[in-house]
């Protein structure tokens, strides 16, 4: 951990420090600072700002950026109306970490790619242009969708996957003034030529809240496949909101974790399902669309058939198709 200046922001203005790096829960940033993967010269502690509320909004729920993962998962409205989110949160990390980790920080957490973590190796995310040893290395946990020839890292969040399925929008207070509320696909940036850029956040910007639209109709679930039963990142995960009426699928929102550099959603997959009678063959067609551009790198090839199986099981459960 390199020496840094520490500032505790007492109001929003102090938080918009273009020379500073925001810290809240710190569960990922401190980890990375100890390895000197992150080397901020100034930390701006925003934990004392007033962003701890979960409150009804005009069209749904507004979740303050400092709401802990624990509080969000245990919130009565979330448990009742957005169970996919509660489940996703509870499947991630541990009780201790969820007590510290915040909503905003969870969105900003960085990849678990082992080469990103090893400062003795090149990494295009740490040092653009230095190379990506993961491509031909040990890449079992890495991405098969949305990658570039520069980077195959995954976004490790469970929470964000559920939020993506729920069409959450991220409220960002810009350093230069003004607030934007961004759909998640506009918030996250795919690796492309420069994998060091992961979001549209600029220095001094602050995530202030996450907005959930009104509770969707239908059944919700979060299914996570992992190497041990708890305290492990997803190999693949599926967040799903699905409704049926008169034997037809009327609502389908599907997001995926463990597959891509951001919580992955492909509305073409949902279009395959909407208005159709649920069946094993239909689910296969949906998986075909999801995985049309999927590309494994050897060690992670298995994720492609695994997510197909998992998606089909989730859809079968939510639509009542007998397997």
């Amino acid at each position: 951990m390199k020496p840094f200046d520490y500032v505790r922001a007492s109001d929003a203005a102090e938080a918009h420090d273009t020379a500073g790096r925001i810290i809240a829960g710190g569960t990922n940033l401190i980890d990375l600072m100890k390895h000197q993967i992150e080397t901020p010269s100034k930390l701006v502690d925003v934990t004392r700002l007033d962003m701890h509320e979960i409150a009804p909004s005009d069209d749904g729920l507004r979740i303050g950026a400092l709401v802990s993962n624990s509080d969000l998962a245990a919130h009565d409205t979330v448990r009742r109306d957005y169970p996919v989110l509660s489940r996703a949160l509870l499947s991630g990390a541990t009780g201790q970490l969820r007590n510290k980790a915040t909503t905003g920080g969870n969105l900003m957490q960085r990849t678990r790619c082992p080469y990103f973590y090893d400062t003795a190796q090149p990494c295009n995310k740490r040092q653009p242009g230095s190379g990506c040893p993961a491509m031909a290395g040990v890449n079992r946990i890495l991405a098969v969708l949305g990658t570039s020839d520069q980077c195959i890292a995954t976004h490790p969040s469970d929470m964000a996957v559920a939020m993506r399925a729920l069409d959450a929008r991220i409220e960002v207070a810009r350093a230069g003034g003004g607030t934007e509320t961004l759909p998640m696909d506009d918030f996250y940036v795919l690796p492309g030529d420069d994998p060091s850029v992961e979001t549209v956040m600029q220095p001094g910007d602050l995530i202030t809240a996450v907005h959930l639209p009104s509770a969707p109709t239908g059944h919700q679930t979060y299914r996570k496949v992992r190497d041990r039963s708890s305290y492990a990142f997803a190999l693949v995960s599926v967040a799903a909101v699905v409704d049926t009426d008169g034997g037809k699928i009327t609502e389908a929102a599907l997001a995926f974790g463990g597959l891509a550099p951001r919580p992955w959603r492909d509305t073409d997959v949902e279009q395959v399902l909407l208005g159709e009678t649920p069946s094993d063959a239909l689910f296969d067609k949906a998986a075909d669309v999801l995985l049309a551009d999927a590309k494994g790198h050897g060690g992670n090839d298995f994720k492609i058939p695994l997510v197909r199986r998992t998606l089909k099981a989730v859809l079968a459960d939510l639509t009542g198709v007998t397997r």
Binding site: M1, K2, P114, D118, V138, D227, R228, S230, L235, A313
Partner: protein
Amino acid sequence: MTEHLKMDQVQPRLLDETEQGALHAPMPRPEGPLKVTGTATYAAEWKLDGMAEGFMVRAGITKGRFKVDASSVEDMPGFLGVYTDRMVRNSAQGTAGTNPVQPGDQVQYLGQPIAVAVADTFEQARDIALALKVEYTPDDDAHVVMDDSATYEDDDDALDQGDLDAAMADAAFSVDGMWTTKPHNSAAMEPHATLAQWDGDKLTVRSSLQMLNYNKHEIADSLGIDVKNVRVLSPYVGGGFGSKLGMSPECVAAAVAAKALGRPVRVVLHRNHVFETIVLRTETRQRVRLSCDAEGKLTGIGHENWQANLPDEGMAEPVDLATHLLYGGENRRYGQHVAMLNRPASGSVRAPGEAVGMLALENAMDELAEKVGIDPIELRVKNIPDRHPENGTPFSSHGLKACLEDGAERFGWSQRQAPKARREGEWYIGMGVASAARLNLLMESRARVTLNPDGTALVQTDMTDIGTGTYAILGQIAAEMLGIPAEKVTVELGDSDLPEGPGSGGSWGAASAGSAVFLGAKGIRKKLAERLGCGADELRLQDGVATGGNNRRPLAELMDGPISEEGHLEPGQTDDDFTQSGFGAHFAEVAVNAVTGEVRVRRMLAAMAAGRILNPKTAQSQVWGGQIWGIGTALTEGIEHDPRTGHVVNNDLAEYHVPVNLDVGDLDVMFIDERDDQANPMQVKGIGELGLSGAGAAITNAIYNACGVRVRDYPATPDRIFPHLD
């Protein structure tokens, strides 16, 4: 005075005659209150005036030479020094007793410790270590993959008995398969740590080590000083599992820096450094062949293995250790091939040999039973040999049949169904069984026992308690022998100035250190008998009162001062004349997810025959440990090496998956009542590693019974199961 015994012949079962009742009781650990309040002091928790902090520097290349540029960091705040002198390549092998390789300016694997950065504070030292400029001259001949092009050192003396090829050709049924296991890390919860302090020529090392009797020599040898000047203190050790058998690199780094700076230096290994610089269990490739007749009687066994190590380690995983003695069959072949690779050194991790060898052997037995068409328990029982199938010695005791059969009864083995027959929703349910065997070892040991007239006693040895229950059982043994309550006995461990015990390793601690305490107390009993005027075999001691002949007197009246005796045990003829082994049987019930291939262990039973059980509570904990390590071995644990650099890719506890609480279903443990008269004067055998031997195989055999997928490549992560499901 010394009470000496060389174990040349069977000793009377004195512990079945004594009457105190301290032994065989599930006594809670006496040091427990310190552990649960955080007041037991582990190595990194000592504070000394003027103590400086060190942080290790790791090599950033796989092979070549390095040169550090201390000037690059000497202006950093808190800088005290950067030291490379006498740096050792990796931790010492268990029972080495000499220095590990000290490679000077050579790098032989990525992550090798090459220097220690020392500063006033931990934060400063860590930053200096990461900022230090190191100039590398890489070699281009590094080899990091265990493939055909690697250089192998073969075991030229490998046994080849009879004609296995012919036996396979003539067999009614046979199995011939290749198994693989990934490397394992001990992952003790306490990282290796040392606080070194010099007083003139005398060095005191507070460290986290398992075998002080060897470690003091390793430290002295590495530093080029007389062992008389080294004192090692390890009263509490936060887990070892082999990783602390040998001196670790930070011992030398801390001592060198402390000497140079003239002040105490503490160095704690970062968790990544633990994964890289402490010996790990090698990966293995194993070929197992079994041949049998139409009834399932084995005619041949083959067990060859390929594994890896750094050059000059002189250690190979004894993969076939249990295979030699577990089952009969005239035609037998072994072979061991060690690839010399530029990767972190391989060494002992809990149950070296059996932990991985038994996976392959016991999976193969399961496959053979299916081919023969008999119950896997019947196949095993049918093939229990009367004598060691290779050297012909008799077994000192043999509990395998009882473990298999009594265990089957308790587990409900008769409820087992055909593969894929039992399903609950998305989950296939199945049962599996495997044998357990672990060679029993006895090591030379000394311990001092002192009885005071007030009915208290003191036990002293340099033996360690790494969670194994040494504090408890040594106190219980002394209490039982001296006829006083266990809480009246104080046990002092983990100080190399005390009489030399065997160290914690090889499951020999209870038998060896325990026997030394037994002997010391026996020496005291002789003196008490003399004073009471009776023969030693007439003496009865209970609750501080001695009875013998027609006399009955409290200890206080018999003693005018403390009586101190040193017990000294040496292994003897019974070791050569008999094959001594613990045996057991593992049962597992698992659920396999039909969609994802995820496996959940619902319940396990371990039936263990390990001689006299000194403390069923701590013994049960040891077996739990073995069962859960079995879960890790079978399902979750495996180090990944980068195929180009050899680097340990998953070098932390986030990505090296030791089992978590939820991974563990209901565990049951049963002990088969047994006394092994040839083993030692207490008739006990080791149990810490027996509990792991075969445990993982019971799980993978249960996976097959559940879902019809044979696992031959470990660990059985979901990606190795689901592709074979419907």
